[in-house]
């Protein structure tokens, strides 16, 4: 069984998805401050890595990385409300790209699995 990543079309699909996704989180006042970065290209690359991971593509992220990468944000108040907002935009992005409901469900399940690490609990 190939990964959702492959079924979606691999790297080019992630490249197409990342700008849609980035635009959604940056336009959302609930979470935009976590995504403000002087270097927008670097921020987009991070988000592409995140999309690749939740779609089951080649990823170098471990649960430990997710924990450490978000620790400073948790200190700044990152909580379930923010996680849910990001998940909402992830789902919206995939749906906008015409990804089937079944694949969207699979991706969302992977994302949900990262909640404890992201929120450091």
């Amino acid at each position: 069984m190939s990964s959702v990543y492959e079924q979606l079309g691999g790297e080019p699909a992630m490249a197409a998805a990342v700008e849609l996704f980035y635009r959604k989180v940056l336009a959302d006042d609930r979470i935009s401050h976590y995504f403000e970065d002087v270097d927008m290209d670097r921020q987009a690359a991070k988000q592409k890595a995140f999309l690749t991971m939740v779609c089951g593509g080649p990823s170098h992220y471990s649960g430990k990385d997710m924990r450490e990468g978000h620790r400073h944000l948790v200190k700044r108040g990152l909580n379930d409300i923010h996680f849910n907002a990001v998940a909402e935009h992830l789902q919206g992005t995939l749906e906008e790209l015409g990804v089937s409901a079944d694949l969207v469900r699979q991706v969302m399940a992977v994302a949900e699995g990262a909640r404890a690490d992201v929120l450091n609990r």
Binding site: E19, Y22, R23, L26, A27, V38, M40, D41, A44
Partner: protein, 331 residues
């Protein structure tokens, strides 16, 4: 302890100290300006030892291959040593041919390099005074033109801009290093709409890019928004109006925050830019130049308005930074 060797002397570096900071602290003169890895004034060459890849970020491959690096971005691992030399080989001697006042605080500096400089309109160079004082400026000229043209903002207390305004005379010898930067016109998709926006001396690269695009046969609309606080801050107004009169696809839109009228719009540059954007700016390309806050803010707005990041070329002008962090008004 890490250490760095210059002209047969080893200099110790403090933990986390950059090669530039360490050398300056110990009295070694190294040209420098932004201290943020952008202006490339502090370029040096590794002679022996390992140059960390992070110190070569943004350099051309040909420079990387010859072990050039940016001293301000170069931190050495504990216990290692690096022998370095200056980047004199990369400098081109040049002569100042004219200094003119464009506005109350903007100078046009014309330069004639001893050897032709291979550059793209919109790139920037480092100007070095004989004593090593270095500042980066965007090129407003075109490669086919005999003289290089810089637009220099006179900063209160600014060392280089003050010298250019009051002391530098035609014939003065200086040196140039560069070019650098990737804010320039790329041929192809000649029907694409181009948005050029900048405030103050952000006009310099935009003036070059606009003329370059027109000369290369760009047929799509070009919108040039030049913003200033008040009308006295605008310059090259007549030149740009004449350019617009000759090219139907070139739209010159000078704007000010207050005191508009007589063909100069009043309002924030962001709000004015917004009025020309379609709902989906597919295929649009943008060039944004000038002060950091303005460039970053407009880039974000354009991205949210539907621009792809790869189609936004931004050149944020960084002020020069003395040791110990930014100091207001230095340049």
């Amino acid at each position: 302890m890490a250490r760095v060797k210059v002209e047969s002397t080893w200099y110790p570096l403090e933990p986390e100290e950059s090669v530039l900071d360490g050398l300056l602290r110990q009295g070694v003169a190294v040209p420098h300006s932004c201290r943020a890895g952008a202006c490339q004034s502090c370029m040096m060459r590794g002679v022996a030892g390992n140059v960390p890849p992070t110190a070569q970020s943004g350099l051309k491959d040909t420079l990387k291959a010859r072990s050039y690096f940016l001293a301000c971005m170069c931190k050495l691992p504990e216990g290692t040593g690096l022998e370095v030399a200056g980047a004199q080989d990369l400098r081109v001697p040049a002569r100042i041919t004219a200094v003119e006042q464009l506005t109350a605080d903007v100078l046009r500096v014309s330069l004639e390099p001893e050897a032709p400089l291979d550059y793209r309109a919109g790139q920037y160079i480092t100007l070095l005074r004989a004593d090593g004082l270095a500042r980066s400026y965007s090129l407003a000229s075109l490669p086919r033109e005999k003289h290089l043209e810089l637009h220099v903002r006179q900063v209160p207390g600014g060392t280089m801009s003050g010298w250019l305004a009051r002391e530098a005379r035609p014939g003065e010898q200086v040196a140039l290093q560069g070019p650098a930067g990737d804010c320039f016109y790329v041929p192809g998709a000649s029907e694409a709409p181009l948005l050029l926006a900048g405030t103050g001396t952000g006009l310099a690269p935009l003036y070059g890019i606009a003329r370059d695009a027109l000369e290369q046969g760009h047929t799509g609309p070009l919108f040039l928004f030049h913003g200033a606080r008040e009308p006295g801050g605008l310059y090259l107004v007549e030149t740009l109006r004449e350019l617009a009169a000759r090219h139907a696809n070139f739209h010159y839109r000078p704007n000010v925050l207050c005191g508009g009228g007589d063909g100069v719009e009043e309002g924030s540059i962001e709000a004015l830019v917004r009025t020309i954007l379609p709902k989906r700016p597919l295929g649009w390309r943008a060039y944004l130049c000038g002060n950091v806050e303005g460039v970053l803010s407009l880039r974000k707005k354009l991205f949210l308005a539907g621009f792809s990041l790869k189609d936004i070329h931004a050149d944020a002008f960084l002020p020069s930074t003395p040791p110990g962090g930014p100091l207001a008004g230095a340049a």
